[in-house]
């Protein structure tokens, strides 16, 4: 036996409507990619209750996306900050957050992105930040532009930043998108609306935070993130 630890405990059941359905007809690409069969339910063992650890030594932080080689990117400079907690409200310390986004014109530095909007030599659009001991994170970037995506006629994504997080357990893996308060495209976006529950959707929208805003420099936005919690009932050890 490679491991001889006490058996793990499962995860909290997901609350209905707070996570997107795989099959979302208004999001066309799900048609051939969403499984037909229901997944099998399994409490998870050591494999799913443990997960990878990333260190700043091996995965160096890149917390200012708004500058490249000393040059400022085009666009509205922003500060994004918040906390990462679990469903019990407990902070998740020293965890890695990966970030990627389009530039201020709505263009990704990516070979597949053919949108007719300019690339910015001083914006790459990928970042990496670690939470501190209290589960807090912060990074600097520019507000990404909207971009068209051909899902339907005249489809434009609302401004968003992609987030990737790892909890202590592999089953807590979270990939999401942060949106901006007041963006009128949110009402029209099938990806945002793939989440049925309106409150759960609203929690994907970062709020302008004047306390995070730095005078004469950058607007602040707050975005708090919650990772799935562990189940309350330990399985038989």
């Amino acid at each position: 036996m490679g491991q001889n630890l006490a058996a793990g405990i499962g995860f909290r059941p997901l609350q209905a409507g707070t996570q997107p359905a795989y099959a979302t007809p208004t999001y066309r690409s799900t048609a051939l990619r969403a499984p037909f069969s229901a997944p099998i339910s399994f409490p998870g063992s050591l494999t799913e209750t443990t997960g990878p650890r990333f260190t700043p030594e091996r995965f160096p932080p890149l917390t200012d996306l708004s500058r490249v080689e000393g040059h400022d990117a085009q666009g509205q400079r922003i500060i994004v900050a918040g906390t990462v907690t679990d469903e019990d409200g407990k902070p998740v310390p020293h965890t890695m957050i990966e970030l990627w986004q389009a530039n201020a014109a709505g263009r990704y530095r990516h070979p597949v992105d053919r949108h007719d909007a300019p690339l910015d030599p001083w914006f790459h659009g990928a970042g990496r930040v670690f939470t501190d001991a209290g589960g807090r994170y912060r990074f600097v970037s520019v507000r990404p532009g909207s971009y068209p995506w051909r899902n339907h006629k005249n489809a434009w994504r609302p401004s968003h930043i992609h987030f990737s997080l790892f909890g202590p357990g592999f089953a807590q893996r979270l990939i999401t998108q942060m949106y901006f308060e007041g963006d009128p495209l949110l009402a029209l976006d099938p990806i945002f609306h793939s989440v049925p529950d309106a409150q759960a959707r609203e929690r994907l929208v970062a709020r302008l935070a004047i306390d995070l805003t730095e005078p004469e420099w950058a607007l602040g936005y707050r975005f708090d993130i919650v990772l799935r919690g562990r189940g309350a009932t330990p399985m038989e050890a």
């Binding site: 490679g2 990619r33 037909f36 494999t47 893996r173 979270l174 990772l227």
Partner: protein, 173 residues
């Protein structure tokens, strides 16, 4: 307390994060015989999925400075993904059950609104017959979607089908 933050698709531009080295879990010099796990990812029309992000995690051998236990492989235009890692041993599961050697996979892609989780077992391992997860799947053909077959020297192959008649078994926790 609020529920977990909603997932949103990884989309087509996640490669901004990609470091191909991360698909090789032996890159820090982990001792022990290495294996290759490879396969192709297909959609419901049988077409290769060329823009997915597949992540691998294993609890055995125990992660260490030399062995991260975690890997990430993109799929190429033909749907191929490929990892290099150490073959896991059995682990202890719930209720003192023994779990057969396996790897965990999370699949992220444009058109997947949230990750799909599955596991990879190894053909001809006697422990497969009593594995607690495999035992939940009565249909032998469905069970086979989680079992990698030998594919040359120290190489294992498992194809993943997102949708349709030969759809892979996915797992929720």
């Amino acid at each position: 307390m609020p529920s977990a933050t909603a997932q949103q698709t990884i989309g087509p531009y996640w490669h901004l994060l990609e470091d191909p080295q991360v698909a090789d879990l032996t890159r820090f010099g982990a001792p022990g015989p290495a294996i290759t796990l490879q396969g192709r990812l297909f959609d419901g029309a049988g077409a290769p999925v060329g823009d997915a992000c597949i992540e691998l995690w294993q609890a055995d051998p125990s992660p260490s400075e030399l062995f991260p236990g975690f890997g990430r492989s993109g799929t190429n235009a033909d749907g191929w993904f490929r990892f290099r890692t150490l073959k896991p041993g059995p682990i202890r599961g719930c209720g003192n059950a023994t779990e057969a050697p396996h790897l965990a996979l999370a699949i992220h892609a444009r058109g997947l609104t949230r990750p799909l989780f599955t596991r990879v077992y190894f053909a001809a391992d006697a422990l497969n017959e009593t594995d607690p997860l495999l035992s939940l799947i009565d249909d032998r053909a469905r069970r086979a979607t989680l079992i990698a077959e030998p594919d040359g020297d120290h190489t294992w192959r498992l194809d993943i089908r997102l949708q349709g008649a030969r759809e892979t078994v996915f797992i929720v926790f």
